[in-house]
């Protein structure tokens, strides 16, 4: 191979390496941001669709809490996804209360909720095994809007309006 041929050969080799590097970089970028189709859970989705409008879902393990509208009224429901059916929530829904937001823990035992009653917006905790709804006062007072219960049911994050500002309160539960 002449020196000129060797030079051309080296350049071609360098170009191939650069091309390989660019291809690897493109594959790596694609790998970091892949669009993936989700598989709908057909049986439960069909049941939810047939039962009217639903909003504010909260997933905890095998439990789905949501607010379901039916006959012009809204109520909180808890669906057992293993059994594909709602479970009873005695003492939770009241005809004079409008639920605004709900969150469930991974055991399906505790549900935190925000509701409007007598012109007031209140935060409360429902314990399913005790069939008990306990109001949770905010300190300092504010108007709760959204609530998230940690998966272990021990910590509550509440979005609160105070003096025209949104704040997030963390509340540890016994």
């Amino acid at each position: 191979m002449t020196p000129l041929e060797r030079h051309d050969h080296d350049i071609a080799k360098a170009i191939r390496l650069v091309q390989l590097g660019l291809a690897l970089m493109a594959v790596s970028l694609l790998g970091a941001c892949v669009s993936t189709p989700m598989r709908p859970l057909a049986a439960i989705n069909q049941q939810l669709e047939q039962s009217g409008g639903n909003r504010d879902p909260s997933l905890g393990g095998r439990w789905l809490a949501l607010i379901r509208g039916r006959d012009g009224r809204e109520r909180i429901e808890l669906v057992d996804l293993d059994q594909n059916r709602p479970v009873p929530l005695p003492g939770l829904n009241r005809p004079d209360a409008q639920p605004l937001n709900v969150s469930v823990d991974a055991a399906g035992e505790r549900m935190a909720l925000i509701r409007q009653r007598d012109g007031r917006t209140e935060l409360a905790l429902y314990r399913r095994s005790r069939e008990n709804l306990q109001p949770l006062p905010l300190e300092p007072p504010g108007v709760p809007r959204q609530v998230k219960l940690s998966a272990d049911g021990r910590v509550l994050a509440v979005q609160v309006s105070r003096g025209g500002l949104w704040q997030v309160d963390l509340i540890e539960l016994p």
Partner: protein, 128 residues
């Protein structure tokens, strides 16, 4: 969520230390809404704005991967909730002029994020 340059932006903060944790992929797609974390915070699911459309995405903080979750039929998410183990996603959508909640299986997309302290083992193999 915090306001950053006038746009709602998700902020991930460790509760015990107060440390703000980096989110690598989300700064371009504001405003953000409806954040939801898995058990140990490996996955953060939320709704982002991509152009003129809303899109559900999940940031995998362990592998530094962003998983966009487009919906069929041009539907757009309004709210979401990720199951603590990362294996299911609930989306609130608008369909036929009313709110609708739909569930999706993420088992083929995400690994399980188990609760802290759970012992993980490979399956037992019988001796030859």
């Amino acid at each position: 969520m915090i306001e950053r340059q006038g746009r709602s932006t998700v902020l991930l903060q460790e509760r015990i230390s107060g440390r703000v944790l980096p989110l690598r992929h989300l700064s371009r797609w504001q405003p953000h809404s409806s954040p939801s974390l898995s058990w140990r915070g490996r996955y953060l699911a939320l709704i982002v704005q991509r152009g003129d459309r809303r899109l559900a995405v999940i940031e995998d903080r362990l592998t530094n991967r962003l998983v966009p979750l487009p919906l069929p039929g041009g539907l757009e998410p309004v709210r979401l909730s990720l199951a603590p183990d990362g294996q299911r996603l609930a989306l609130q959508l608008v369909a036929a002029g009313r709110w609708q909640v739909e569930l999706f299986d993420l088992g083929g997309i995400l690994e399980i994020d188990p609760p802290a302290g759970e012992v993980l083992r490979t399956p037992a193999v019988a001796p030859p």
